[in-house]
Symmetry: D2
Subunit: 345 residues, 4 copies
Amino acid sequence: MSIMRVGVLTGGGDCPGLNAVIRAVVRKGVNGHGFEFVGFRDGWRGPLDGITMPLGIEQCRGILPRGGTILGSSRTNPFAVEGGVERIKDNLAAAGVDALVAIGGEDTLGVATRLAELGVAVVGVPKTIDNDLSGTDFTFGFDTAVNIATEAIDRLHTTAESHHRVLVVEVMGRHAGWIALHAGIAGGASAVLIPEAPFDIEAVCAHVETRFRSEYAPIIVVSEGAVPADGSGMTLVSGEKDAFGHVRLGGIGDRLAHEIEQRTGKEARAVVLGHIQRGGTPSAFDRWLATRFGLQAIDAVADGEYGVMMALRGTSIVRVPLVEGTGELKLVSPQEYAEAQVFFG
Amino acid sequence: MSIMRVGVLTGGGDCPGLNAVIRAVVRKGVNGHGFEFVGFRDGWRGPLDGITMPLGIEQCRGILPRGGTILGSSRTNPFAVEGGVERIKDNLAAAGVDALVAIGGEDTLGVATRLAELGVAVVGVPKTIDNDLSGTDFTFGFDTAVNIATEAIDRLHTTAESHHRVLVVEVMGRHAGWIALHAGIAGGASAVLIPEAPFDIEAVCAHVETRFRSEYAPIIVVSEGAVPADGSGMTLVSGEKDAFGHVRLGGIGDRLAHEIEQRTGKEARAVVLGHIQRGGTPSAFDRWLATRFGLQAIDAVADGEYGVMMALRGTSIVRVPLVEGTGELKLVSPQEYAEAQVFFG
Amino acid sequence: MSIMRVGVLTGGGDCPGLNAVIRAVVRKGVNGHGFEFVGFRDGWRGPLDGITMPLGIEQCRGILPRGGTILGSSRTNPFAVEGGVERIKDNLAAAGVDALVAIGGEDTLGVATRLAELGVAVVGVPKTIDNDLSGTDFTFGFDTAVNIATEAIDRLHTTAESHHRVLVVEVMGRHAGWIALHAGIAGGASAVLIPEAPFDIEAVCAHVETRFRSEYAPIIVVSEGAVPADGSGMTLVSGEKDAFGHVRLGGIGDRLAHEIEQRTGKEARAVVLGHIQRGGTPSAFDRWLATRFGLQAIDAVADGEYGVMMALRGTSIVRVPLVEGTGELKLVSPQEYAEAQVFFG
Amino acid sequence: MSIMRVGVLTGGGDCPGLNAVIRAVVRKGVNGHGFEFVGFRDGWRGPLDGITMPLGIEQCRGILPRGGTILGSSRTNPFAVEGGVERIKDNLAAAGVDALVAIGGEDTLGVATRLAELGVAVVGVPKTIDNDLSGTDFTFGFDTAVNIATEAIDRLHTTAESHHRVLVVEVMGRHAGWIALHAGIAGGASAVLIPEAPFDIEAVCAHVETRFRSEYAPIIVVSEGAVPADGSGMTLVSGEKDAFGHVRLGGIGDRLAHEIEQRTGKEARAVVLGHIQRGGTPSAFDRWLATRFGLQAIDAVADGEYGVMMALRGTSIVRVPLVEGTGELKLVSPQEYAEAQVFFG
């Protein structure tokens, strides 16, 4: 009987823990199941264009603590390419690949879901910094991002208080406010604004003034996807210049700081954390979660159980149908948002 | 109707997140429920001897990121004191306390359990660095300890490889190997030894030699409570001296390093992480978990639901009977230990 | 003989280490010299408006590791206020203050210099994140900022490489490129752009393309005060929108990323570190330097040596005339910039 | 004219920054001077036994932030080997090496000094965690060690205060107390004991009791090489057992904690930081210093200036005769120790 040969790819935005998944898949696959591996480069572009790289114990040495992905990544969607599916099937066959482990978010796993329906033997591992994939309690990368954002908030407290300033911290979260909510609670923010609940700029400003009366300097954490409620009177700002005469405005963080300063007369500054939330070494939790996802994923391949993705439920890793993770987004519920309001009220 | 007055105490070893619980209990109690608070100092010694301190919004300012506990701690057991229970009841009454929030581990909550049976209105919040309390997925403090241990292992990898040495890292865990298991997986250890599975010193040494042949320098993570299997031939060492002629041996980490060096001829060194695992600022996860425990605990008081403790199940905080958390220890199962063996084999 | 009474104030932008200076001044002043202290709030606004706070051993407890300043800060300039100098002299007399320790940067020490000329007994402690004060090898706060920027660059490397992107990191430094230079060297940046040397955008883009050919993804560190050379053809960009349709452009970091993307066709992203560089706990080096500055400053007061500021020379703290630190800025020399070019070429 | 070929080796205990030196030497050597390189493995064992490895731009990729040394290390002394010098000369000739860059501490540079006298073209780069090499203001690795020790002390403060305990922290420093002194100042220790000043155990205990009366819990930082003064009455302890019945005593940290507990009746615990001080990623300062040492070292080779080592003086890197760095140790002076006593008194 021939040796089972497994392809691995990582797609979408990078995320601390991707390398930990790859390493676990390969270590368990080689040492536990006797499989061989081939790496596909840059997400779905790899199988689409037949771009591979060697992948084995040696390539995985020392990668556990490293951010990013040794396989590279992209947002290539083979279903947007004429004949894409056929090319993928041909390239998998040409590479002698019997099964595929696809590590990625909504888009990458969406492709995996459709390929599985078309008969490709694929197992998924969910990945999103934003923690907004349904079906799993947490995704790896999220804990690292929350730690980085919390450490930034810790640092900003002293600036806020020494200068009697409002500080607005913009964190990742296009559709879901998980990073803002967790980092806001952990960092002791005085308000958290999330995409799920359009905010009232007047209420935010009233809150800022209350905080100053009690001698606290407010720190406001805002998801990049948060928006003012319709009719709240907050308009797009324009024209503010920095010390060098450059216009420095744009995202919700900057706009909000500007608006608060205009309305309350308090100095307000924005910090946009951006890409530092998604790079670098993963937290211990994320390494543990990513490793366990990887171990279970290759076991699923060994069991011949395809069309599934891994999910954390409590402290167990379970396999759920791929569609579960790529159906609807997991959003912060009104109850969860309300629970934290005692600190933000 | 008079205002509800709630006492709070923290018992047992300190643990990152205690202050976050206290702050959440008080913030929600005052702002959400209109309660008043009194702090009892140094665990059960506070109510036993009537030692209190003021506790309100002001005392909780700025404590969220700080390790330790503003209330102090001790291992005092009132049931070991003649008339202890009566003194506690008297002192609670004297302080006008209607209900008590007790934050602590097996011992502290064990006392709470018995006091609840004797009619004291008490709600518990579980606390253990070791993560060995049953009834809850995780306890706060554990994630911080695992992060610290993982960072230490990251640092030791380079020393091990540059010097072709064996490094033994002793972490906390008297009865349960959770910290060793999680930090070992996250840090890429080549072996993890835990109390639940007495180890075979010959197998450990064989593993060390295998690792050296493949050019890796082994890092072995060992719980403080791990022990050699009966008849494994590992004896208590004695007499090794450091560069200054002092005998520097003792705990399992030191003994294991000595034994490996004697048997394999490879240089081996031990690092005992000790108290740095339990002090200092909590990780974001622990602040979030501790805060949510605190919010739920004071809500339980408001609901008049006593004799319960808080527990994490998935991403929800639930209330479970106090006895659940103080019955038997939560140990690493053979399956969980086996899952990680692919990295350690 | 009456007890010597010393006022302390902190001015300008906050900086990790301010509290360490205050603590050292007070601890040595009380325990070593038997002085009394009074704190002036919010920089020169304190003595100008007679706003004081108690300052002694108790107020300094636990502040060593904390960022910001317990005295508050401002940019108030008493020489810009009608009768400001007289008000300061009157308020110092009213508070019974015999001497003043002023901790601050160019502006704060500039005021101190002029007050010293007018007979006020003042000793200065230099402070600037940017490290651009002449007369001293280093100022506290700088090392912390460089560590934070370096850690951010470490994190961004993996994103740059996984996504084949250019990452531009904007760091502090309005007039001097010290943070960019040190963090660029420490973080392994592929180019560093500083205010002292206007850059040629075509050379930067050529460098980006060279890096990609050798399979490195470039990270470019840019001081907030860096500017394109005249006639380099780089224009102010405008109109780029983020995923939400908001214009997100402004500072040199954003403008540079946009320009590189336009010219090279490579995806480029900017991260603006901003205020997280100046908040939070100081590095060990900064705590040591700030503490030693404080010890020497109060010794200067005890010696009756006024009109001086503290300076680091090698490993010694020396006293230099205040004017030395407030004369001209310490800039990166062409030689120092050239030394690093081997990494950036 | 043939291309210059340079050998590089690293000797002695590992130290964060070794890889940064290697990278700077190679990058500047290749790109700036057109040199070729060969790596010698494991300190002087490499040239002694002719063990080499390829060394070029490719090998240095990504090593800047990594602890340890890609060349390996050892404490081999060729002068202790019959015919060692001849073997080194022969092996250097066989490898076509025109000059050697030796990176190491007292021992490694001592060998370099003697080889230079025997005509070998060698340039030295000083390395010691302990910062006790004379001739240079600081050595790389020291700042990283101090940061790690300071962070540990920060963490231990909360444990000390929550439990009313004495905590003893043992740090590196066999002959010199630099790490203890700097980390003690930066961490706010209440006493620092160093090898240069044998301590009076009665004075230490009196200090402990004073601290408790003022409600502080003392943290005592002790160098591994610190010793009690003759006749101070402190004896070697023996026999104390941990919770598992194992004798856990040995180094000065453990002995001191035991002695304080015996004499004062206060609970005392020791933490021995050990190898975590010398592993892992270097601080920004150490990367900057190591990089600049490397750049200057290869420039010295290019200048044909042998028999020198690099040294930091203020902010400049200078070349000093190798003997300067290998003559006598740089110890903490009585004045420097006294300066800090205001915090420890």
